[in-house]
């Protein structure tokens, strides 16, 4: 029976985040915390694999206590168990420190029940990096398979999986030994509405929550801000055109003016066909 672990994150919904027009800063309170949408696809895919081959789906997250909500969402989707690591010493982690902390938790989960497959979303919508999944795979020394858009086969008995990996101009069929890690694309599946029994289970679900001291062999220097090689030195609002010129006049005038503006860039038309 397969043991699949999905690594997930609770994120602010960047789609609805509002900017304060006066200070040009983000109003974080304006954004509800949600399960990272890519991770919802990862959990759904894990559940589908479980349905095909049998097994258990666990989810793991790192975050502050309210992130329990994201785990409950995964239980709604069909995950069986949830684990959370939560400790002030994890705070401020970049992708390197995050993959380190998650790997320590995966070691603990794996000791209870060996892990055959790890599934992650392609990236998070707040960090946008897509680095944590491959980082976990490297630390566990298992093959990372990013850009997975279809899972063809997972064969525990013979110890392999076959997936389609999205390329810029098509896809490739890859076979990997198990265990391995999939980072999945958004179009791998559609996450359906959750069945009522799952929702009932989720509402009452209490995940196991571990602090740093509950994990083994942790080098605290590699955690959180301390363990993060990258630091954010400065943030500033992106330069946006501040509402340019409105073109007035009759429709004919307006069209002619646009054509004139565009033709000032006519090198684009000379280049056409010549640029590869």
């Amino acid at each position: 029976m397969l043991h699949i672990v999905a690594c997930i994150k609770q994120v602010p919904d960047t789609k609805v985040i509002k900017m304060n027009p006066k200070t040009n800063t983000m109003d974080r309170a304006s954004a509800p915390a949600i399960l990272n949408p890519y991770d919802a696809h990862a959990v759904e895919e894990a559940v589908r694999i479980k349905k095909r081959y049998g097994g258990t789906v666990s989810v793991l997250t790192m975050g502050p206590p309210p992130a329990v909500k994201a785990i409950r969402k995964c239980i709604e989707i069909g995950a069986d168990e949830g684990y959370m690591i939560s400790d002030k010493r994890f705070a401020g982690a970049d992708t390197l420190a995050t993959s380190y902390a998650l790997t320590k938790a995966l070691d603990k989960i794996g000791k209870q029940k060996p892990i055959d497959l790890i599934v992650c979303g392609k990236m998070t919508i707040d960090g946008d990096t897509g680095q944590v999944g491959p980082g976990i795979a490297r630390r566990l020394d298992i093959p990372p398979l990013t850009s997975v858009k279809e899972v063809k086969e997972v064969n525990k008995q013979d110890g392999y999986a076959i997936v389609h990996r999205k390329l810029e101009d098509g896809y490739e069929v890859v076979r990997s030994s198990l265990p391995c890690l999939f980072a999945v694309e958004k179009d791998i599946n559609e996450v359906p509405y959750s069945p009522l029994p799952n929702m009932i289970k989720a509402a009452q679900y209490k995940p196991q929550i571990w602090a740093v001291n509950d994990l083994e062999d942790v080098d605290v220097k590699q955690l959180g801000l301390k363990g993060s090689p990258t630091i954010v030195a400065k943030v500033w609002p992106p330069e946006k055109p501040q509402g340019g010129e409105m073109i007035e006049g009759s429709a004919e005038d307006q069209a002619r003016k646009v054509v004139n503006i565009v033709m000032e860039k006519k090198e684009l038309f000379r280049e056409r066909g010549g640029v590869s």
Partner: protein
Amino acid sequence: MSFEDYRGTWVFLEVKEGKIAQVSLELLGAGRELADKRGDQLGGILIGEGVKELATDAFTYGADVVYVYDDPIFKHYRTEPFMEALMHCTNKYKPEVILYGATSKGKDLASAVATDLPTGLTADTTLLDIEEDTGLLLASRPAFGGNIMATILCKKYRPQMATVRPKVMKALEPEPGRKGEIVEESLSLKEEDVRTKVLEIVLDTQKRVRIDEADIVVAGGKGLGSQEGFELIHQLAKVLGGAVGASRDVVESGWIDHHHQVGQTGVTVTPKIYFAIGISGSIQHLVGMQNSGLIIAINHDPDAPIFQASHYGIVGDAFEIVPLLIKEFENVLGLGDVSHVGKV
């Protein structure tokens, strides 16, 4: 770790269809500036099967030295053997900076290398600079769905690494005949030790519009009313030799498939000219197109947010204005001239 040992800027030279990928040429241009500022060499790292001769192209575009790993084991991109090659080369020659294209391969490889070295990695960089005296890389990128820009530093580790989005840096003018040094390297990797196998590569046979590579994008939104109305976008794009883009609700309505979707959950585009027609301009859409060179919006609603993000705006009826634009452009450009060219 002694930082003095780490010198030079490197670019991972991605190979695509037997050539160095465009994004890697762009990175050689960006890398040249960083290397010059530090008075160091610009290196390229080239991994593949039968790729050695491509080093010449890297020299033409600014590289001083190219490290080559040419072996059948590198025929297809796979994380682990490519990572081994990069680790080997990095440990041996100690670059100060390594840049990768923010492509599926580049991001995959950079993430793995960063973990194993270990070092910091900044993803999807859109601005690069380096401190002349300290060599500290200033890598800036959009964050929180494009709502802010952030400058990321890696002060305590070397090399410093970043992936860089295609189309944001500029390749240098090629200098034919420019020479450099080829350093051939090898690894004793055995195929049976590699845990992944590429069984098959399936390329898209249908010629797909690559909106992320187009110089001109004509994008339409729900304001066009229907799939028939959206035809106007196709017509204008055709006349201009541009690609067709769409807002998310257009894709969700099924007027066009999702490869055309511009925005946070679609494709980020940076064309030289972007037309937004009948698009109101949600933040997700703006994130995907706000770095376009020249943005022209047409919308009937004068309060549409798209006008705030545009260089030029027309408040009006797309069904009146776009046909006039098509006619005018046909006149100016000469339709016979453009029907067979254009990057679509």
